[in-house]
Structures are given as structure tokens and as C-alpha cells.
Symmetry: C2
Subunit: 269 residues, 2 copies
């Protein structure tokens, strides 16, 4: 299924927002849930309203609704999410055809390589982490499942962009907001296109210091039984600790094996 639904004729792509109370109400309800998570923790009515970009009166009604629905709880002053909100996110993960089986595979890869490993999907111009396995050297970690990064600056994103059909890649390069995040970031669409072509040919993406000067990483696409790249798997380590040549020797085969193991576990094999 394509990330967008341009071919959909039966479902209106853009409901009349002013006349359809549903649309605005639902949008606001979800905005309030998202606001309660940014930053994570408990929030006053005012904080939530500001974060959601809504009036206090509207936010108050939204919060009251969410309390009744048990997505949120309050002591009268502070509001915070309840475990039911978790179900909304887990529904997405549980629907991924590789979610159930890939944990053990990515965990084993991390143990084998002794470096941080991750699995992510592409969502428009971002990658979204669905698994993160920090290196055992790191004691306290924010696993960051659900967190986003711009696709063009991380190896996971490059591997996924390189696997896009030509028309989708063209659209991406035309609209993408490429910024120089470090002196090494590729922010020129032509140069990015050339890099993505190379990645598609060699079968892996290598990035060194383009998002964070201290981090380098390698990623390969994870394909479903039909051959579509539906995720990517990566290993990350400290920039300068390894060259691309050494990383290819050390990481590429294990990454490809993990991607293949995940593919073999998907329905349809």
C-alpha cells in the first residue's frame, strides 16, 4: 500500500472542514493527546492548550472527553495519559508483518555486533523507529520507538529512499527540505540523488557524521516476500571508530542476513 492515497475516489481526500464538525473535533482530540506527550509527563490545562494550539475552552472540553474515555486522568489540576493511549500505538506496530518476529533477530544482531541496532519504516519524508536496540555499553537509553528523523540524513532513511520507485523518489527530491545539519550533510538534491543511486547499486547505505558529527552507521532495506522495501535495519557506532571499508567487512553480511531472516518470517513465504 502506498503511503498516500491519491487513487482513492470513494473517500473524500479533503472533507469540508468548516461544515463537518467531526473533522475538527477529531483533529483536536488527537492534537490534545499528542500535546499531553510533549514533553512526556503531566500538564496543566494551560500548558496543554498552548502545546495543542487550541483555546483553553476547547482544550477543556477535549480533556474532559479524554478523561471520560479513559485515555487521560486528572487530579483536577494536572492531566496525564493513561495506559489506554498505549493501545492506539501498539495497534500500528502489531499490524506490521514483521513486528512479532523481528525482535529476536534485531536483538541477536546487536549482540553479535556489540553495537546499537535499529529497525525503521519510511513515513513520507521521515523515518520512524519501530525498534531500537542500544549497545550494551550504553547504560541508560531512550529507546525512542515512534520517534522520527528526516530520512535523508540517516542510513535507515537513505536505504529506504534508495529503494523508492523512480516517480516517488523524484517527488521526494522535488519537495524535500534538505538542511545542512553538520558540515558533512548532503543538502544538494542532485548530490543526494547520486548517492541514492549508488546505495541502490551497492545494496547498503553508509553515513558518517551527517546528522550528528559523532555517529556513523550502515543500513540495508528489509524486503517483504513480494520484494518491496518495507523497512530498513541499521547498525550505528561512533564516528571515527571504523572506516566504511571496515564497516562493510564487519557489518554488511550480518545486516543482510538479519534482513533476510526478517523477510523469511513474514506471512507469504
Amino acid at each position: 500500500m502506498a503511503p498516500s492515497s491519491r487513487s482513492d475516489k470513494r473517500i473524500p481526500a479533503s472533507p469540508k472542514k468548516e461544515s463537518d464538525g467531526f473533522v475538527r473535533a477529531i483533529a483536536r482530540g488527537f492534537s490534545v493527546v499528542e500535546a499531553l506527550g510533549q514533553p512526556p509527563g503531566r500538564h496543566t490545562l494551560s500548558e496543554t492548550a498552548k502545546s495543542a494550539g487550541l483555546t483553553r475552552a476547547t482544550t477543556r472540553r477535549m480533556l474532559a472527553t479524554l478523561v471520560v474515555m479513559k485515555y487521560c486522568e486528572t487530579d483536577g489540576r494536572y492531566f496525564q495519559l493513561r495506559p489506554r493511549a498505549l493501545g492506539l500505538g501498539m495497534s500500528y506496530l502489531n499490524a506490521l508483518p514483521f513486528w512479532t518476529t523481528s525482535h529476536r533477530i534485531v536483538e541477536s544482531l546487536r549482540d553479535e555486533l556489540s553495537e546499537s541496532c535499529a529497525l525503521a519504516v519510511l513515513d513520507e519524508d521521515d523515518i520512524v523507529y519501530v525498534q531500537r536496540w542500544p549497545s550494551r555499553r550504553i547504560l541508560s537509553t531512550n529507546l525512542g520507538v515512534g520517534s522520527r528523523l528526516p530520512a535523508y540524513v540517516v542510513s535507515l532513511g537513505r536505504a529506504l529512499l534508495a529503494a523508492l520507485p523512480p516517480d516517488q523518489l523524484k517527488d521526494y527530491l522535488a519537495r524535500a527540505d534538505l538542511k545542512k545539519l553538520t558540515p558533512r550533510t548532503i543538502d544538494d538534491p542532485k548530490k543526494l540523488r547520486a548517492t541514492l543511486t549508488q546505495i541502490a547499486e551497492q545494496g547498503y547505505a553508509w553515513i558518517d557524521g551527517e546528522l550528528d558529527p559523532a555517529i556513523c552507521g550502515m543500513a540495508v532495506p528489509v524486503r517483504n516476500p513480494q520484494g518491496q522495501a518495507i523497512a530498513a535495519i541499521s547498525v550505528n557506532t561512533i564516528s571515527g571508530s571504523i572506516t566504511e571499508t571496515a564497516a562493510r567487512r564487519k557489518f554488511l553480511r550480518p545486516l543482510q542476513r538479519a534482513a533476510q531472516d526478517i523477510r523469511m518470517q513474514m506471512p507469504g513465504n
Copy 2:
């Protein structure tokens, strides 16, 4: 913060549902997101309507809204959740004061004991898993973060119920729907109360075959720096493979140490 908000005077506990379009619209929006996750995967309009308990017309409007909001995508026939839905659930987890730091601790406990370990919170009468670390013997696993079980039949739930303030425990025992799920399930409120008193005294819960005849487990509460039991940590293994006495000798100290480690990592220490 208490799981319910009976003391809240400023937020109406029960908005006028018929007159307030927001309430119904939001409730329906969330119902549709939940319906798209049950079972996980892609769903037609009809399936979604049936699962959400809504009319096709209402469901169609809800789905159109969710597509516009990028929580859901469609190819015109099937609908499925998008990664943005994941953010809703992760906001809850990221707000837990032990979420970031506890992974490594629970993973290490699993490695030390070579048995499945889990971390859960209490949400009314259920426990909700926030971490599950299956034993390495198990190759394919549904990690089940976000999944629920009745508190009275699992060791995690017993440990959390035993730590409730007396009035909340009394309310729970008065309302709880205790069913005999196996021949060994305690379904008598008086007997459950006596068991919970014993758990509070001995500092751990042990359950053998009350949810699933094949599973036994031990759990202890995880307390915050203020001493409140805000989660529980458990180890589970195959019923009959170990006695309670042997489990106490083998599991109790490591469980208590993990709970204490998690506590020490929380803000406020």
C-alpha cells in the same frame, strides 16, 4: 495521581453527550483507530464499521478524517494505520518515570534468570504490560506491550493489588469480576483478600496456573521514591518446573534488586 479523578470539580465528569458533538465525534474517532488495530492489519470500511460498532456512513467520515490527519492510509478499499498512530502510544510510555531507564534492567534480569520477565502497570482492574522480555528459548514472540490481563489472575496484578491503599482495595474487591479461568483460579473475593494480605506481608506474589495451567510466576512491586507502587516486575516460567520455595530462593532477590534499581533511576532520588 490516582487512576480515577473523583476529586476533580473543574472538569465535568460526564459531559452532556447528546448536545456535545465533540464528545461523540472524538469517541468515534478513537474507536475507529482501535478498530483498525483489531485484528492488526488492513481492514475494509465494512469491517471497520462492524468492529467499531458504528454505521458505515459514520465510519466513512471518521476514516476520511483519519486519512487527512495521516493516522491512516488507504488504497481505496483497505484502510490501515500509519506510523503517526504510534506516537500516540509512545507518548504514554515516555511519560512513565521509569520507561527510559528500565529496559536495560529488565533485560539483564531476563539474562540472569534465563526466564521471561515483564514490567506492568495497573489500570483499573487490569494490568497493562509496558515491557516484556521473553526467555531466549522462545524464538518468535509477541511482545505484547500494551496488552491487558485481569489483575487478579497474574502475579504482576496481585503484587499491584496487594499494594493498593485499603479503600481502593475494598472498592476493587466489591466490583471485581472474578472468574474461574482454570481449576486453580481464586474467584472468591474473601480468599483473594486473604491472599493479597499475605502478598503484602511477604513482599512478593506467586501464582501457579491460575490464568494458564502451564504458567507460574513471581512478581514484586516497583516503588517510586515516594514509596508508591507504580509498577510491578515479574518472572514467569513453566508450571511444575519449579516450586514456590525454590522460586523464592532463585527469583526473589534478583526481582527485588531490579525493582530497587528501577526505583533508584527515577527522578526524585
